[in-house]
């Protein structure tokens, strides 16, 4: 401050409390600016999502979700000799297995267990970033309910027991529902995360799986 002691003593009743208030305010403003700047710069370089973060919940649930897609793709590859279906299945299996590995490594780096301490999809109850009510970007899914688009034990067994065009049709139906659920889950984490790696992978999932959804609808129509 530029106020000299002489000036301060000239009007002590007014300037001393003001000086104190101004000083305290300056310190507080500096603290806030420091905390915010530190936080923002930290987020862009070394983010460490916590145990109950949307990022951790997504990374765990999506690994399981992808795991079933890989399983369905491998099943149909063994049960169909159609080159288009077999190539699509190979594409899905390898792409999603690789993405599972990415999410596995994130959790390991973040120092978090692969297994959640809360029910699946509970991370939907974390707030969305734009401050809207929280119903954005999870397709009407209720937090804590089973993952969307997952095939049941009976459906997986039916796929296992099918062959030829029947297996292809069943695979396409299951995988279309699976991809729709996957896109909803990816949208949900995009709405809740500012983590660059997580949102980049999730956007990639939305983009790729949306394209595959159109393609699978065509393949299914050709078999109906």
């Amino acid at each position: 401050m530029s106020t000299s002691p002489a000036e301060a003593t000239a009007a002590p009743a007014l300037s001393r409390p003001r000086l104190i208030v101004a000083g305290v305010l300056l310190v507080l403003v500096a603290l806030v600016v420091g905390a915010i700047v530190g936080r923002v710069t930290a987020t862009s370089t070394a983010p460490m999502p916590g145990e109950s973060s949307a990022e951790a919940g997504f990374s765990r649930d999506m690994q399981v979700h992808h795991g079933q897609a890989v399983e369905m793709a491998l099943l149909v590859r063994d049960r169909s000799d159609d080159p288009e279906i077999r190539l699509l299945a190979l594409d899905i299996a390898t792409a999603q297995a690789q993405q599972q590995g990415q999410m596995f490594a994130w959790l390991a780096i973040w120092g978090l267990p692969q297994t959640s301490s809360e029910p699946e999809m509970d991370w939907l109850s974390r707030p969305v970033i734009d401050g809207s009510a929280g119903h954005e970007g999870h397709g009407g899914h209720t937090p804590g309910e089973p993952m969307p688009g997952v095939a049941s034990f009976e459906q997986m067994q039916a796929l296992q027991n099918a062959t030829g065009v029947e297996a292809e049709r069943f695979f396409l139906e299951l995988m279309i529902a699976h991809h729709q659920g996957g896109v909803d889950m990816a949208d949900a984490v995009i709405a809740r995360s500012g983590h660059p790696q997580v949102t980049t992978l999730a956007r990639g999932m939305v983009q790729l799986q949306s394209k595959e959804l159109d393609y699978m609808s065509e393949l299914l129509a050709a078999r109906s």
Partner: protein, 221 residues
């Protein structure tokens, strides 16, 4: 302002007094304004200060969700087994611990899931290598509603649940190289063990498939 006709009627003394009264009024208004400004200033400073503190507290609180480093989870009574050989054998294996928690195993793994019959150990051990947790229960001690509860606690993937006759404890949880004997289905260490070891990076091949190989008898989900 007062109009000219009325001020003309006033004597000099009256005019002087009027001017003085105006001055005093002005000064009082000025002082009141300053006082008000000061009060507003102090009020704003307090509000601002409180807001700033609230923001800081908010930042600290929201960034303080502690990570659960799997390494910090301690499972009481845990047994560990070192030097396990991850080799494939077609023959039956004489494991040093029961149920087996790692070692030589069949080239075919057991598909993960819930079984109501005993499963072949040499195949289940291969699944442990892939990062599965194998929960076994003594069918004489765990049945009916307890068994339903136990089944409902199993994660969707990378889990095997099966009966194991002659088990020394009601429930035993095993992963590659680690095992814990549990007092019952509501022993809190079951959950700790699953969180710590299911798909643990310490397993030899976490994430390798736990499906599409052998469906043991009595697989119900």
């Amino acid at each position: 302002m007062a109009d000219d006709t009325s001020s003309d009627d006033l004597t000099i003394k009256q005019q002087r007094e009027k001017r003085r009264a105006e001055k005093v009024a002005n000064l009082k208004a000025k002082q009141a304004k300053e006082k008000r400004n000061q009060r507003v200033g102090v009020g704003a400073a307090i509000v601002g200060g409180v807001a700033v503190v609230a923001v800081l507290v908010g930042i600290v609180v929201t960034s303080a969700t502690p990570p659960v480093d799997p390494a910090t989870i301690e499972v009481e009574g845990l047994q560990t087994f070192d030097g396990l050989e991850a080799v494939h054998v077609q023959s039956a294996v004489d494991y040093t611990m029961s149920p087996p928690a790692g070692g030589p195993h069949n080239p075919t793994w057991l598909n993960c899931g819930v079984y109501e019959e005993e499963v072949p150990a040499e195949y289940a051990v291969h699944s442990l290598e892939h990062g599965a947790v194998w929960v076994t229960y003594n069918p004489e001690q765990v049945s009916g509603g307890d068994l339903d509860t136990l089944r409902s606690q199993m994660p969707r993937s990378y889990m095997i649940l099966s009966p194991f006759s002659g088990l020394d404890a009601p429930v035993v949880a095993s992963a590659w190289g680690v095992q814990v004997a549990l007092d019952g289905i509501d022993d809190p260490r079951l959950r700790e063990f699953i969180i710590k070891y299911r798909q643990s990076p310490d397993a030899p091949e976490p994430g390798a498939l736990c499906s599409q190989a052998l469906d043991g008898p009595g697989k119900i989900s």
